[in-house]
Symmetry: C2
Subunit: 491 residues, 2 copies
Amino acid sequence: MSAFDDLMAHERQTQALSQVAGRLGWDQETVMPRGAGAQRAEEMAAVAAILHERRTSPAVGDWLAAIDDAALDAVGQAQMRHIRRDYARATRLPAALAAEIARTRSLAHQRWAEARGAEDVAHFLPMLERMIELKRQEGAALADGGDPYDALLQDYEPGATAAGLEAMFGALRPRLVALRAACLEKPAPEALSGDYDESAQMRLSRVLAKTFGYDMARGRVDKAVHPFSSGSGDDVRITTRTNPADPFNCFYSTIHEVGHAAYEQGIDPAYGLTPLGQGVSMGVHESQSRIYENQLGRSRAFTGWLYERMREAFGDLGLAGPDAFYAAVNALKPGYIRTEADEVQYNLHVLLRFDLERDLIAGKLEAADLEEAWNARFEADFGYAVDKPSNGCLQDVHWSEGLFGYFPTYTLGNVYAGCLMQALRAAVPDWEAQLAEGDLSGVTGWLRENVQRHGGLYEPREVITRACGQEPSEGPLLEYLEAKFGALYGV
Amino acid sequence: MSAFDDLMAHERQTQALSQVAGRLGWDQETVMPRGAGAQRAEEMAAVAAILHERRTSPAVGDWLAAIDDAALDAVGQAQMRHIRRDYARATRLPAALAAEIARTRSLAHQRWAEARGAEDVAHFLPMLERMIELKRQEGAALADGGDPYDALLQDYEPGATAAGLEAMFGALRPRLVALRAACLEKPAPEALSGDYDESAQMRLSRVLAKTFGYDMARGRVDKAVHPFSSGSGDDVRITTRTNPADPFNCFYSTIHEVGHAAYEQGIDPAYGLTPLGQGVSMGVHESQSRIYENQLGRSRAFTGWLYERMREAFGDLGLAGPDAFYAAVNALKPGYIRTEADEVQYNLHVLLRFDLERDLIAGKLEAADLEEAWNARFEADFGYAVDKPSNGCLQDVHWSEGLFGYFPTYTLGNVYAGCLMQALRAAVPDWEAQLAEGDLSGVTGWLRENVQRHGGLYEPREVITRACGQEPSEGPLLEYLEAKFGALYGV
């Protein structure tokens, strides 16, 4: 066995254990007995510690020193790119700092939940300050002389830089603010009303999952408090949720998670249980969930098909017809909450967080001034004031968990989805006719072939560039949004 | 940190990972997507390899050398007894032999399933021969000069010896053969007939589980092909099965698994995720499942209560009354299959296997002669000939998986259950009145206090001796069976 073979055997076991950790997470959110929480936390901590030990093992360092990447084929070189990057990251982070962050995360999370419940920012501040300080230290340790925020960003989007994202996001913001304001000046479209049986929602959810190419033999759909997708390869499970008053929440959560899951299921099986066997970044992952959910799932063509399926399942929907249904699916509403936002407003929520978190890590903004900065920015972009912290700076869990550098991948995913949809329209010219028949195999097949199957073979930006034939930019997303919502709202 | 503290920290992580492995097994049998089998096998193999690596780690050897057991308290000394034994076992077995056994297990299992389906013993023989040879080697390596079969037995029942079991089992056999023959000469009792709704069976199963003290907040009941219990501490799950024609199968499988699960749930929480935090042996485990299922669950007092619950759930059962119901629950039937056998005949099946497998490991019996030996022994004890291999030597999965030394723990569990029931009758004199009201808290509370809570603190035989105030023997089981079935059948 060569050093490369030995290293890959070690990696396969590590990846398998990492899959197991994911399965524990699924179990916890779906089927775990309610009294098992404390024991489960200890089980997950043990698996995390064993994973960390394996990832920082001196044996890995020895193998890395012995391997000549140039002598490997392209796939081997791509594996090495991931392994070298992960090892550098894992060994650069001092163990004491990692442990302190883990400890603070659980305390900060609890404080955040209490503070949000009590609408009391001050209650969260000491833990937030501590977390920011620790993440600054982590960023500095990982950056090795470079920019700390960029270093944090690499965990979620390898190759991305804050400067590159700023350029993209800077171009998005004014046009989204203008589009939002113009649409909201117009009369609101008819909304769905009534009660929708939750079992029937789950049944239609499963139909939607299959329609979007989710392989039920290698996955399953369950109900959970939060929709999520979990696992890679042949065991990729999704969850969704139901609300009798809001079936769209169930259906579009399902389609969103199917986008994530189809990506994982679509990766070349040859990469199974290796570093290439998972979605390559949060941004590319989100590009799949968003293009499934929005560009495809909220298109006029597909909503026409969905309208009929909903009428079959629930009877008359009280809407004038498929055009009214399309308008209802795509309605803009004033609001405070990122996760409830529509396609137009969603990215404004993200840009706000991106700008604030960069300032927090850079030391240009202190935790004590966060609420004021948040509220000022929100009013500037949305035109009305935040009414309470749970609708403002306490709404998201991310910062309490130390997730700095995560938010921008949401909008990057939307930008990528815009680029991919432009390419997809050219590659599958009759996509709308197909979707109108409920046939998603053409569009999801194109995405599988051009994005999903590559897994971690290419760097994130390169995946999109190869699929689209050009470098990604914010242009296609903006054009798509302005055209779609311009037509819907007559602006 | 002392060497003992370091070792225990390592053990906690290992135990946690071992719990995780159990959870993967549960997942596989209940909720896993059907296409995930191959990936799951690789995940489980990786976890097994990591567990083996941790159990044979030279660091453990260094800690063991540095620790003076005599300086520890009683609990610490018990922990060390387990850890030293497990480490000796893990390091005595040559890695190449362990790998060859694992490889052969999967091939032999497949061959066995094919052979059973085709009623073709010869098809299984080459793999069975190979497995026996490997287990002889394993026994010799573990025995370190002692008896190989005894060495294999230690995996399931630490402290037991074949000679000790032979003495017990030798006394059981003639009286069970005689009791069986006498009962089967009598007219068969009325049997249950009709169809029993499977959802209603599951609902009543959950009621039974709670009635027998199973903590549903720290467990769950699901349907699976085979009933089993899995996990320790705060996450102990059971499965059961349903058959419209045979509700007793569902209910008594549930009660049996609840016995196993209640044992795990009942262990002192201070031992959680340590070597003491699990049932101490297969025999003691089976004593709990069997006393729940048989001495308690099939008692006249409890069946009287169950009769009323079944009538509530299913309407008239077509039986004359609670005495007829009690007779139906405890009916003896001629048959070939161990897992379908009643209290009287079950142990005869086990004794047969115990005698044959000792001869196989000792080299006194070769695989080629197994079928003949099996059939001769079966006819001697049961009075009729085996009609086909799937009803004879191909019926059990155990030997194909290399499980030699496992079978006797089933009967040892029954012997222990007999002893415990004798002690329980003295300790809870009005147990029958309690059971007649569906109140199992008195009897399960006694078992928790006297057996279950100790986990691995005492050696298996010592647990029973302490609970009963005397050394275990086969006498109480025989007296119980002869009294119960003598009265039922008038013999």
